[in-house]
C-alpha cells in the first residue's frame, strides 16, 4: 500500500500553486472505524492530503533533489466534516520559498464550500541529514506521473511541465 492521500492533480503551476482532488469512498477501510455508522474522513488525513498537494509542489520546484519534509503545521481549521461520497478539492499556494524551506497555505473545498484550511512549513534538510534518503527521486517521479501532474502541469513560464532531466530513465 502506498501513502497516497490525493487521487490526482487538476492544476499544477510550478513554484506557485496546485490543486488536487480526493474522492472519499466507503471502500477506504479507515472509514469503517471512524466512526462506526458515521463515516467521516479523519482530519489528520485531510491535512496529509493538503500536505501532499503542497509538498510535491515544493519538491518539484527543487527538481526532487532537495530533501523536503513537512516540518510544521502552524494553523489548521476544520469548518465541516468530510463524508463518504464527498469529493474534496485541495488547493496549495507557495507563499514563500527559499533554500532552507517553504511556507505553504492550503485549503480543502467540498464543492464551493470551504471545508478546511491550513498553513504549513516544509523544511529542506541539509547538513547531517543530507546523506539520508527519504524518498528516491524516481519514486517522486512515479508519484507525479500517477497523479497526472505532467499531463496538466505548467512550468513557471507557462509552457507544459516537463519531467526533470536525468530522472526520466527510471
Amino acid at each position: 500500500m502506498r501513502w497516497y492521500w490525493i487521487d490526482r492533480y487538476i492544476e499544477f503551476h510550478s513554484g506557485r500553486s496546485a490543486k488536487a482532488i480526493k474522492n472519499i469512498s466507503l471502500a477506504e477501510e479507515h472509514l469503517h472505524d471512524h466512526f462506526p455508522g458515521y463515516p467521516v474522513m479523519p482530519a489528520s488525513l485531510i491535512v496529509e492530503g493538503m500536505a501532499q498537494t503542497g509538498g510535491l509542489l515544493v519538491c518539484e520546484y527543487g527538481q526532487f533533489r532537495l530533501k523536503v519534509v513537512l516540518a510544521k503545521i502552524t494553523r489548521a481549521v476544520f469548518h465541516c466534516p468530510a463524508l463518504a461520497g464527498d469529493t474534496l478539492t485541495y488547493s496549495a499556494t507557495i507563499e514563500s520559498i527559499r533554500d532552507d524551506g517553504a511556507m505553504v497555505t492550503t485549503t480543502s473545498h467540498k464543492g464551493q464550500t470551504l471545508q478546511a484550511e491550513a498553513e504549513m512549513f516544509f523544511a529542506h534538510l541539509d547538513g547531517g541529514h543530507q546523506d539520508k534518503t527519504l524518498i528516491e527521486p524516481r519514486d517522486f517521479l512515479r508519484m507525479m506521473r500517477l497523479l497526472k501532474a505532467y499531463e496538466i502541469g505548467r512550468a513557471a513560464d507557462g509552457s507544459r511541465l516537463k519531467e526533470p532531466p536525468g530522472l526520466q530513465d527510471f
Binding site: A71, K72, T74, R75, E95, S96, R98, D99, D100, G101, M103, F121, A123, G127
Partner: protein, 130 residues
Amino acid sequence: MPTKEEVFQKVQNALVEALGVDEEEVTPEATLVGDLGAESIDFLDIVFRLEKAFDIKIPRGELFPEDVLTNSTYVEDGRVTEAGLAELRKRMPFANLDEFAKNPNVQDFANLLTVADMCRFVESKVNVTA
C-alpha cells in the same frame, strides 16, 4: 518608515502567529525559546513572517548564526571559544551577549534571543523613525 512601536507590534504579531502564544506573553524581555517555546523550525516560520511584514530579506544564518555553533573553530567541548564569541558579537550586533559570555555553553545559546533583540534586528534592516 516604521516607528519603533510599529516594529514591535509587527514582530509581536509575527510571534503570536508563528508560535501560537498570547499577545501579552510577547514582551520585549521574553526569550524566544525559554519563554515563548520556539523550536528550531519556528525560526524559519518567524523569518518568513518578518520578511513579509517588513518587505525585507533575511539571509539564512543572519538572525540565528547556527553555523558558528557547529564550527569546530569556534566551539570546544561544548563551549563557545573567545574567537567564537567575537564572531557572534560581529554577526549579532542586535543581541546582548554579555550574560552568555560568562558561561558560554552552546546549549544555552538557543535561549539567548529576546523579543527586544529581534526588534533591534529588524530595526537594523529597515529605516526606523524616531
